[in-house]
Symmetry: C2
């Protein structure tokens, strides 16, 4: 049976039912400002976590936000493993230290010196770590929308991470994404089966202050690109009328 056509009206007071819709209009100016504030003031937090634990209601709201991410074929391939146990975090931290030493050795000269001075994780200082995984077999062998691009399930999981990060910002909670691991370092620590991949390892906790700019920019490690360098019209490298004066 073909699906019902999209109804164009949603009677006031009706409960959500298949096909129910709501107006798609723009948010108020104040609401838009709030969304942009979250996007523009979100930071990758490494070294400034407070020990104070997150209340359950705050953490639930942040996880619900993550779980509202888009996913290919509504696959919802993500899981969020809440890691508070200090011994577990010590094992993760030891792994990070080993891999970070390897990473440091890939830089040379002044760059290597500056790399060594950067604080890149808050695994032990943040009261909560979240291991975000992607179950690549969820949804069965054929997933709508994933037939030609197998990694779209990983991308869906990243969308969940970004939702979580923005919700955390709105709640006054800092998040840092640690990526200096080999995935196989961590999988056995959490008992992950073969088909489950780690997409992100997050350090989560309250912070007092945030940098006005990305920390790597503030510390002169890298520079922000102007928007005109990342927007093109129609073809690669064709400057956009939108961003070029």
């Amino acid at each position: 049976m073909p699906p019902a056509p999209l109804p164009r009206t949603n009677p006031a007071g009706s409960v959500a039912e298949p096909g129910a819709t709501h107006p798609a209009g723009p948010f108020t100016q104040a609401e838009r400002d709030a969304v942009y504030r979250a996007i523009e003031t979100r930071r990758d937090v490494r070294g400034e976590f407070l020990a104070r634990p997150l209340p359950d209601d705050v953490l639930l709201r942040i996880l619900e936000a993550a779980h509202h991410a888009p996913s290919v074929g509504l696959m919802q391939p993500w899981n969020f493993i809440l890691v508070r146990d200090l011994d577990a975090r010590r094992r993760v931290h030891a792994t990070f230290e080993r891999r970070n030493a390897e990473a440091a050795a890939m830089f040379s000269g002044e760059r290597a010196e500056r790399y060594g001075a950067l604080k890149l994780e808050g695994i032990l200082t943040a009261p909560l770590n979240i291991c975000v995984t992607c179950n690549r077999s969820r949804g069965g062998p054929v997933v709508l929308g994933r037939t030609h691009q197998r990694d779209t399930d990983l991308y869906s999981t990243v969308c969940a991470v970004q939702n979580l990060w923005l919700a955390a910002r709105a709640e006054g909670v800092g998040v840092g994404w640690v990526s200096i691991f080999e995935p196989d370092d961590l999988k056995p620590l959490f008992g992950l089966p073969e088909e489950v991949e780690i997409v992100a390892y997050l350090c989560v906790g309250y912070v007092e202050r945030l940098y006005d700019r990305p920390e790597l920019e503030a510390r002169h490690w890298a520079v922000r690109l102007p928007l005109s360098e990342v927007v093109f019209d129609e073809r690669w490298r064709a400057p956009s009328a939108l961003t070029v004066d």
Copy 2:
């Protein structure tokens, strides 16, 4: 020279400078509601685009939001190719049609029939398509944070897509992510060099109404998982005290 320590205060009226910070506290209730509204009412739009073009200021704000995404090592590997040309979109659409026929053949029985009835893209009806790419060589051979997980640049680009999507929702603009392509189908159409990958192909335009629930849920293609199935404590499959009553 080691970086300066993180200043704990940000004198009122000072301009942004390396190390300047601002309070990380929670947003007001109204601001949080706005962020959660964007997250919860964002939808993947396929079939209901209006022809009305986006004003430049709206599109600029959405692209700025994308460009404020987190990126590994501040790599900012993303580009946004604005595709309005109808001939170009026709070529993309023809590619989609071919791959979608292949996809349909992967389903069988009642599932195949229902797949065929789904509208999965708005390439020609949306006034704007955005091809979102990841330049894998940007930032040079060694990128901070990408030393052990090479695909974190792709993940950064996905964060930009999710920022764009949420900003668009706040602006009343619909976005649909089309993934039924082989990347090599599209790369030559936009002149992309070898090292640049397509992460997302987006259809963008105004819409009148949005589904209350994900369209694939509303159409009974897939079901939403309860939060308790995606949150674990400490280890894989260990039910979380947070979500289990």
